[in-house]
Amino acid sequence: MVKGALFKKSVQDMRKSLSQFISIFIMATVAMSMVVGLDSIWKTIETQSDIMYQESNLSDFWVTAPNPSDTELWKVLNIDGVEKAEKRFTVNSIAQIDGKPTLKVYAMPAENTLDLPDVESGKKLSKQGAVLDKSFANAHHLSVGDAITIEVNDKKIQFHIEALALSSEHIFATKDASTILPDSKKYGFIVVDEDRIATAYGGVKPYNQVALRLSGSADSKAVQKQMDGIFGDDLVGVVTRTDNHSIDMVSGKVQQFKTLATVFPIMFFLVTALITLSTMTRLVEDQRNQIGILKALGYSKRSILWHYTSYGVYVGILGSIAGVLIGPNVIGKVLIRNLKFLFTFQNYDLSLNIPNIIFSSILIILCTGGVSCYSCLKLQDEMPAVLLRDKPPKKGSHIFLERLPKVWNRMKFSSKLIARNTLKNKARMIMSILGVMGCTGLIIGAFTLYDMVTGVSKTTYEKIYTYDQKIMLDTRTTDRDIKNLNLDGVVQDTQETMMELTAKNGIRKMAGVSVFSKDSPLIHLQDTAGNRLTLPEAGIAMTRKLAELMNVKVGDTINLKRSDDSYVPVEISEIVYMVSGQGIYMTNDYWEKIGEDFKPTSVLVKWNKKDDSFLSSDYVESYVDRATQKDNFKQNLTAVLSAAFMLITSGGILAFVVLYNMGILNFFERVRDLATLEVLGFHQKEIRPLVLMENFFSAVIGILFGIPVGMAITYILQSGFGDDLDLIGHITPDKVVISAIITLIFAIVVNSIVSKKIRTIDMLQALKSVE
């Protein structure tokens, strides 16, 4: 029973160094649960959206063009790589129910196979029937069998709800990019019969989009380019999957969590390896004699090596099992709850990224088992007789500081001892510094993230926008109507629309265009530094992030595609900073100068006295409070904030485990020295710093290194937010100080635990013999 005896020995050994093996276990668990938990989030989003894209047969891109003819369709179908091209009609309608919510109408020939609704319950049969957005139906307490009336092209049409469904184009269901949080009460979709919708357009089927499906090998860009030739002036624009706000948000979130799941665990894996290294090195050194005995007894090199390797392997396996359990069940469950506000999926069952779980498990076992094996290797080649002899006394050595007599001679005696001790254990020192660095970095990152999110909502909804309400106007309401109403308060008309922009370098973007007067009393544009800007007399202002994406700068000229489909060159005169809603801004004078009509789509009002009769009048389509917008903005980012708090927690665990480990190892290693000092008559308070100062040193150095790490983390976080949000995190001194203080508190707590241990030193035991 050779194996049995050695196994019992491992269990005993681990029990003796329980706290250190628990530390390794905790680090391995944290590392694994972070990988598995964060992975499960993006994997779930990806899996669920893929299921929906598959089931609804989502197109590769859409061509927007009024009344595409059969010839045009035929030409599109003949392009190499195009598998399917189908016409459809889509328009926003107003549902004739409480709150006048918007329903996006989709109508298509019955034989269409692309972009079908993902029916959850019921079945669409009749021409009078409609498939309604399930979330919208739930929000309005509508169900199969009810009727709903929508207003399209000023005509009201009634439908019977025959089925409820989800849509691939409505996973992240916002009306446009400027709405931040999906609200099923205000926006949904409805799929209806094309003949019924035609009644609102005088009997003509008003197709306005061609959905395309390409073969796997087709070059999407090349196909898109040919659309100009086929549709000519009729071409309004090409909407790719990334131009679709919902699809873009989904893939953006996937990307965001992929980044998180890759970057953060790295540090934890590294620290796991370092903790194992320092623990096992000590254990193996302590057991020098025992290794000698085992060898003398005739145990093979391999079985001894495996014996010590197995310590790490056991802990690594346990850690990875715990991580696989905790990751999805804690991290995954908490984060997925936040995502329910954002994405409408069939279900939110967590999917696991199995290949990466296997890979990370192997990695963590390498970090524990592999490192254990390494630390045992160097004793393997010694002869048993050498190992059985007493360990030669630890070598003391001079350190570089001694070559600077000015510094060295002025140091206090205890400082000299601490300096020598610290510099002799470089691996342990690096471990502690890394641990503390990671902790500080994570806390700084989390604070900056929190600050960024709350800060930008403050900047946007308190400094940039100062209206009380933004009132979306009915399409028939004119500029003159607003003037005649004489609303009691500060009033600002704005026109918001989408336009295609083309830069000289060929980059094309559909972007939001906002037009308002130069004095702009309720929108205060600013630059990235927060200085107030006014709209240029001539030319446009572009948001920083859009300029970055299009690779243009102040002074460049871009082409705007006007509503009459001709291009007009405009100069970028100003770069403005806008957190959400990237686009361009110009004055109404300039807007008219480039040949467009100024027709306000919304009016911003800062009320002296709120005019409820106006708000409920036919002039108004809907309205939103600035406070609501601010709340929604924050809520959109709660998932990110939850992640931030998890980062702080894991940073804390990291610092705690590492510092505790280092403190305990220091203590055990020096227990003889400390006992000697105690016998010589050193008081407790004189002995304590000898052990604890080392922790403080590495804490301080770690904190300093943690600052750039925090910056890097912040950068990774802010660049992971997708194209729509332009977040700039500022690492301010107060954040650094607070993070440093938090880290120091961890260090102090750990030190007080370790100093309790110091009190238990048994002088007599420690002095008896050389261990």
Partner: protein, 233 residues
């Protein structure tokens, strides 16, 4: 009154369910400036006596007086101060701090004492003037023990306690170390107590306290202690 007095000292240890009396009713007196040996087999309780005298262990019953002070009544902090100012220790395994050089190990003592002696002088005195900047790992056992003696004496203690100081050394080196302890202590007027199981060593002592099973078996005064050189073991 004697410089050191043990009065009916008992020391009990609780091991599991049973009580073991390591020291059972020990009384003796020691005069200032004398060289004393506590002799006994292992387990006789001699180290426990030394530890109690050195303020590293406390007695269960009885009183210990040192220089008129009842140290058996001191608390932990008081004992530390007592060790710090009055006691110098020399151990079987030297107990040098490996990360400090010979000189620095001796300076350790200087750090905390009220009236320390010059560390360099002490090292010269034990014959290690040229090894001051060596680390313990670079020295032989005898050299390490000499550093440890220098460290104990640098504190300028009243009492020098040595627990099997030759236990880990060969007899030649051991004799040299004992001679050093004896000579330096005599020069400086220190009271020395050496604990050993090695009977011949007792021949060099002024007083020999022979212990057996936790009790004093015999106390003997040597009228004319022998020189270390004459002792063979």
């Amino acid at each position: 009154m004697s410089f050191i007095r043990f009065d009916k000292i008992e020391r009990e240890y609780i091991v599991g369910d049973s009580i073991i009396k390591a020291v059972d009713g020990v009384s003796f007196s020691i005069e200032k400036g004398t060289f004393n040996v506590v002799l006994g087999q292992s387990g006789a309780g001699k180290t426990t006596v030394l530890n109690m005298l050195g303020g590293m262990d406390t007695s269960t019953h009885g009183s210990i007086f040192v220089d008129g002070e009842e140290i058996s009544k001191l608390n932990e902090k008081g004992l530390t101060t007592y060790r710090r100012n009055k006691i110098g220790f020399v151990f079987q395994f030297y107990n040098l701090v490996p990360n400090l050089t010979a000189l620095e190990n001796v300076q350790l003592a200087k750090e905390i004492c009220q009236d320390p002696l010059d560390p360099k002088e002490m090292l010269e005195r034990v014959g290690l003037a040229d090894r001051m900047n060596n680390f313990p790992s670079q020295m032989s056992g005898g050299e390490q023990q000499r550093v440890s003696i220098a460290r104990a004496l640098a504190k300028n203690p009243q009492i020098l306690l040595c627990d099997e100081p030759t236990g880990a050394l060969d007899s030649g080196t051991g004799r040299m170390v004992l001679k050093l302890i004896r000579d330096v202590a005599k020069d400086m007027g220190k009271t020395v107590i050496v604990v050993t199981h090695n009977a011949p060593i007792a021949e060099m002592a002024d007083t020999v306290i022979h212990m057996r099973d936790g009790k004093i078996y015999e106390t003997k005064c040597n009228e004319c202690p022998r020189n270390v050189e004459e002792i063979v073991w």
